[in-house]
């Protein structure tokens, strides 16, 4: 009985993984084909295997600079988000203060605001400040949804650490910064990992703001892709190759935080 149940679960899991991976496989498949093959015949795998599409991307600065730009603003954003979110999350998890619940909910509302609402004001704000088309502008704009999320996640993890630890440390004569960095931070490093993962993810995948706030110097890869679609007609093969390459940084990040995701919440929530 137990064995049969196990099998049913495995079957379900395999079915889901097939559903999850088929579309990705199809894109990878296309990225190794030539445009002629894509359009002329329907093949399940590349008949004339080619690296040409990837070569195009790695040798053309207008393509590869997109990846670099994206990584820069995502990096800036993740660092700022975590830096400001850590102390705030600590405050929310440890103390009551005037208006704490309201501030917490207000922060969350920013996570709920559709970026489309802020599109125009952002455009004007950053133009006025001369920040248009810089990495900072996009990083700042993305703080809008990443900071609240980071606070939210970290608060959950910190609440899972018993307050006695703080008190013992203070009795032992630790100052707050020393306690925070040498004792508390290592305890919630799983939470920091998860928060960083989410910040990276939401900043990396966002298109609307990133595209509006940049034109040349900081143009992210996602914007490069949309423009190429419309400019050169339907260059499916290169588009597919570029798409595959956007998945790579994400896959690397998941690989690094996989233990944190799996065990992470466990440490935070028990």
């Amino acid at each position: 009985m137990d064995n049969r149940r196990f099998k049913k679960r495995t079957l379900f899991l395999i079915a889901y993984l097939v559903f999850a991976l088929l579309p990705i496989y199809w894109m990878v498949n296309m990225s190794f084909k030539t445009n002629e093959e894509i359009l002329s015949s329907f093949t399940l795998w590349p008949a004339a295997f080619t690296w040409a599409n990837y070569k195009t991307i790695f040798t053309d600065p207008s393509w590869y600079s997109g990846y670099i730009n994206s990584l820069i603003y995502v990096g800036i954003n993740t660092v700022i988000s975590l830096t400001v979110a850590l102390p705030a999350a600590y405050a929310f998890s440890r103390y009551r203060f005037l208006g704490d619940k309201h501030v917490f909910f207000w922060l969350l509302t920013n996570r709920m605001t559709p970026p489309a609402v802020f599109l125009l004001p952002f455009f004007q704000l950053y133009t006025t400040m001369g920040l248009m088309d810089t990495h900072i502008a996009v990083a700042m704009a993305h703080l809008l949804f990443n900071v609240p999320l980071a606070v939210w996640i970290l608060e959950g993890f910190m609440s899972g650490i018993p307050r006695e630890i703080d008190e013992t440390a203070y009795i032992d004569g630790y100052s707050f910064p020393r306690f925070f960095f040498t004792i508390f931070l290592p305890l919630i490093k799983a939470g920091v990992g998860v928060a960083a993962f989410f910040c990276f993810m939401f900043s990396w995948v966002e298109l609307l703001l990133a595209r509006t706030l940049t034109s040349v110097n900081a143009k992210p890869i996602v914007a490069t892709m949309t423009r190429t679609v419309s400019a050169s007609g339907m260059d499916w093969a290169t588009l597919a190759a570029a798409g595959v390459l956007t998945i790579v940084p994400g896959a690397i990040v998941i690989w690094f935080v996989r233990h944190y995701i799996a065990k992470g919440f466990a440490m935070g929530r028990v």
């Binding site: 991976l21 199809w26 559709p114 004001p121 940084p249 995701i261």
Partner: protein, 297 residues
């Protein structure tokens, strides 16, 4: 946030301050601009007229908007109904430890890290009848499948894309919740001879409440402002079948440059989301407390 025995300390405000400054800069300032626009008619950069609530009245009467809102609500509910149970089921069937667990985790999470327009592109290539795997075989099976021509097909394709894209988030959160349950609970349950269902209903589900709350809120909010994926896949069409609120707003604000109505609409949009989330948040919080009380009884 639990409100039990936390000490009151107003100095904690200093710790929150950096966040407030950051978010104020990227949220309050722009929001004020939106409020500003929503009550003015901007004729040219230096000629503007105060029009009071005229735009709001105009937006409220907008039939197109009502339809977009209705489509949006249907879509968001469908998303929650499919993704939450599927995500939980997926989390329950994922291996708990070992290399298999890591491998499955990475594979499942993969779709989350794909930029949203690439998600649109993937499904575009996947669904096209001439070059796509899905489209080709549906066509072969005798179905006149076309996500650009048939509005029902477009709607289901967008839903399938969203399920494909976001169920992993629910699954990851639920999985993390499951891992946090100590083995002692399961041992106690097996001593009591509890059925699988009882274990799920009385141990796993309550223990996952916190993360599931995050999952429901995130999925609701994000599906309510879905923009990029349908934009790339269908461009909101055919007709208006997949024109959801963000798409409609962006067309108004950027395409037609109707600042006043677009701003008024933005505010209403924001308030709708706020209202939904406030209700949902409080409802789930209170559900949690009552469950806890039952647990003690």
């Amino acid at each position: 946030m639990s409100t039990t025995t936390k000490p009151v300390n107003q100095k904690a405000w200093f710790l929150v301050l950096p966040v407030i400054v950051c978010v104020a800069f990227s949220a309050i300032l722009p929001l004020m601009t939106v409020v500003n626009y929503s009550v003015q008619d901007v004729l040219s950069p230096d000629r503007r007229v105060f029009v009071g609530t005229e735009w709001f009245a105009a937006v409220m009467r907008d039939e197109e908007l009502h339809l977009a809102l209705w489509r949006q609500i249907q879509f968001s509910l469908a998303v929650l109904l499919v993704e939450i149970p599927l995500g939980i089921a997926l989390a329950l069937s994922m291996p708990a430890q070992g290399w298999k667990s890591s491998a499955v985790l990475v594979l499942v999470a993969l779709s989350l890290l794909i930029p949203w327009n690439v998600v649109g592109t993937i499904w575009q290539i996947f669904g096209r009848a001439d070059i796509g795997l899905l489209g080709y075989y549906l066509q072969q099976a005798g179905m006149e499948y076309s996500y650009t021509g048939n509005s029902t097909h477009a709607w289901w394709t967008v839903l399938a894309m969203d399920v494909w894209h976001w169920t992993p988030l629910v699954a990851l959160l639920a999985f993390a919740g499951l891992r946090s349950i100590p083995d002692a609970y399961y041992q106690a349950a097996s001593i009591d001879g509890a059925s699988k269902w009882a274990v799920f209903r009385y141990i796993q589900l309550p223990k996952m409440r916190g993360v599931l709350m995050i999952a429901v809120l995130l999925r609701f909010m994000d599906s309510f402002m879905i923009y990029t994926e349908p934009f790339v896949l269908t461009g909101g069409g055919p007709g208006n079948a997949t024109t959801f609120l963000s798409q409609y707003l962006t067309t108004k604000a950027v395409g037609q440059f109707d600042l006043g109505p677009a701003a008024a609409f933005s505010l209403i949009y924001f308030l709708i989301i706020l209202l939904f989330c406030f209700v949902l948040y409080n409802w789930m919080q209170s559900l949690g407390t009552s469950e806890k009380e039952q647990g003690h009884g």
